[in-house]
Symmetry: C2
Subunit: 346 residues, 2 copies
DNA sequence: GGTGTTTTGAGGTGCGCAACTCATTTTGAG
DNA sequence: CTCAAAATGAGTTGCGCACCTCAAAACACC
């Protein structure tokens, strides 16, 4: 009836006895210190393995008096999504200080590869872990690899650089997000035929490009009655998005759906309402004060969201687990694609 | 540019000096041990407050050699959702043992108030924390209050007992979940008019009743073209659900939507397909192997889900934070209402 | 005042590990 | 075999706290 999910606790002393060596040797192996013969290393490793030994996190934490430093490299400028991430990190301050963690926010122009790369290089040696909203560019990739070589743990946040040797990516699968948006637009249009508009920041951004890719995939294969118009590039700016969309709406009277891939949401909503096209199915991204209002008003029909609080906490937890050598709870740290409609607004 | 989110680390000694008392007194206050004059308690509390002192989690953990014991009181019998929770707890075993936590699963008949109450009473004194899938009944409420009085931390899981003095509820807002289901059915039906069927386990279960309440709310106010048929009570059994639904489908040719509130999904799907009514919009709950398949096949259109992994981990984290006296990260532990469609299947 | 009770202080011990020193043993090269 | 270098063992210290004991001080009551 009652079934225990855990086992008894071993200590380093037990491992030393098991392996037939001294505590000092176990310590050397555990921390990759030099001066141990390979076969000794093996014996210790095997003893650890055999007993599935877990160092006591609390004891290890207590013994290393040095606090850990993490850096969050984020876009400068007003970006509500990033501001939310920052706010959630602030909310964790008690949690962080109880674990003697120092988290520093570093604002930089993440859209300029050389600037971003320079910012990253500057961190080398000073931080135990770095979370970065990364542009996928050779210079950035090299900077990330250098950080890793210098011993820092690195996670990419929101936007990935798969080709770099970063330890982890905290963010959503953007192709799947685009597919989800496509399915929502298609389903919510409800059998009508017509055209679908797409507004993005820029197709040069990896995440936007991937979302559009997924969106088109679904539209093509599942909603043949809907035709997707060429992507408008609004640069995530309200004014430009509004202007471009207004012109498009004027040209096509049969637009029934709209996918806003990035920001510029205010402009998109304004163009829709000023054209009196309130019935167009409008799907966008992220839950902010604005999109929340639009959802409640019925202007937006659904928002695809990646929980910024979860992303902030997952990034910290992953960095900490990496630094401690603990395993990562993949299931826990995975960022899900949330569909948010009026009634399940968080 | 670089902004630090944390402050320097104080120790208990600092607090003692600040408050002008000895370490022993601080210790007594911190652990609610008797024999301290009220004004002394206040002085210490204020010093802690003033410096926003956080005890070092690792040191505290290390010092208390006694492992913590948590009990999870869950329904007996085959319930995929509960099995998932159990599986996720198993995946955490490394995490748990590193924190010297012992989690035990206790299966009982949670649908029989007196049996459940007796199971809870039996735990008293043996556990530091209890998570329970609770029936809302006076006997259960009393048992929970007794546990709390005995010093255990108690969280309700999935199903709440708001009137009991449990410390926390880990689960979703079921009224909002029902509302979300209603909005989905209404929107996905796409403007057609017709009838909507509702299959539940029992209207006596609090969570089912709340979901139906929310569902009806939305249907009545927002989708006047759809009329909701009387609720079928399938007792979460496949055979019974199938039989009842088959009869209903036979009677009404104009059923365009279906909300399955609880389990019995297999039977519901079978009734639909055997009646050749594949185009009925079908919204249900939870992502299991079955609903996953049905979503991929297009039989189900959407599933409202509460992430069982998140629930399991949140319950453990909340119990641990409560036991340690740490603050709870409410935002982190809140269970969200996930809308799962084919393309954002987790 | 004296008595008993309550409150407070001082101090010790140990949790498991990291990080270090220094003495001793083993190894390998010549 | 010799000698230096490498490897290993034995041991210490301290991280911050929980938990405990015992003595001293403050207090209440008669």
């Amino acid at each position: 009836m009652a079934e225990t999910l855990t086992t008894v606790a071993l200590t380093l002393k037990d491992i030393a006895r098991e392996a037939g060596v001294s505590l000092a040797t176990v310590d050397r192996v555990l921390h990759n210190r030099p001066g141990v013969r390979p076969d000794m290393v093996r014996r210790v490793r095997e003893a650890i393995e055999r007993n599935s030994f877990q160092p006591h996190v609390a004891a290890a934490e207590l013994a290393r008096s040095r606090a850990r430093r993490f850096a969050f490299v984020m876009p400068s400028g007003p970006n509500p999504f990033m501001q939310q991430i920052e706010a959630y990190l602030g909310e964790m301050s008690g949690w962080l200080s109880a674990r003697r963690l120092k988290v520093e926010m570093i604002a930089t122009d993440v859209f300029d590869a050389s600037v971003l790369a320079a910012s990253l290089e500057a961190l080398s040696g000073d931080y135990d872990g770095v979370a970065v909203v990364a542009l996928d560019h050779p210079a950035v990739r090299a900077a990330i690899n250098d950080l890793v070589d210098a011993g820092a743990k690195v996670v990419t946040l929101v936007s990935d650089v798969p080709s770099a040797r970063r330890h982890h990516y905290v963010g959503i699968d953007n192709i799947a997000a685009g597919r989800t948006a496509g399915a929502l637009v298609g389903r919510l249009v409800g059998g009508r035929s017509g055209k679908v508009a797409v507004v993005a920041g820029s197709q040069g951004l990896r995440d936007h490009a991937e979302r559009i890719f997924g969106f088109n995939q679904v539209m093509a294969s599942e909603f043949p009655d809907l035709s997707v118009l060429p992507v408008l590039e609004g640069r995530d700016e309200d004014a430009r998005s509004e202007q471009l969309l207004a012109r498009l709406l004027g040209k096509h009277a049969d637009i029934v759906g709209l996918y806003n891939v990035g920001a510029g949401t205010q402009g998109v909503a304004k163009a829709l309402s000023e054209a009196g096209r309130d019935k167009v199915v409008f799907v966008g991204h992220d839950v902010t004060a604005l999109t929340r209002r639009l959802l409640l008003q019925g202007v937006m029909d659904a928002a695809i969201s990646q929980n910024p609080g979860h992303e902030a906490r997952a990034a910290v937890r992953v960095l900490l687990a990496l630094a401690r050598g603990e395993p990562i709870l993949r299931e826990q740290e995975k960022i899900r694609i949330d569909i948010v409609m009026r009634d399940n607004l968080p």
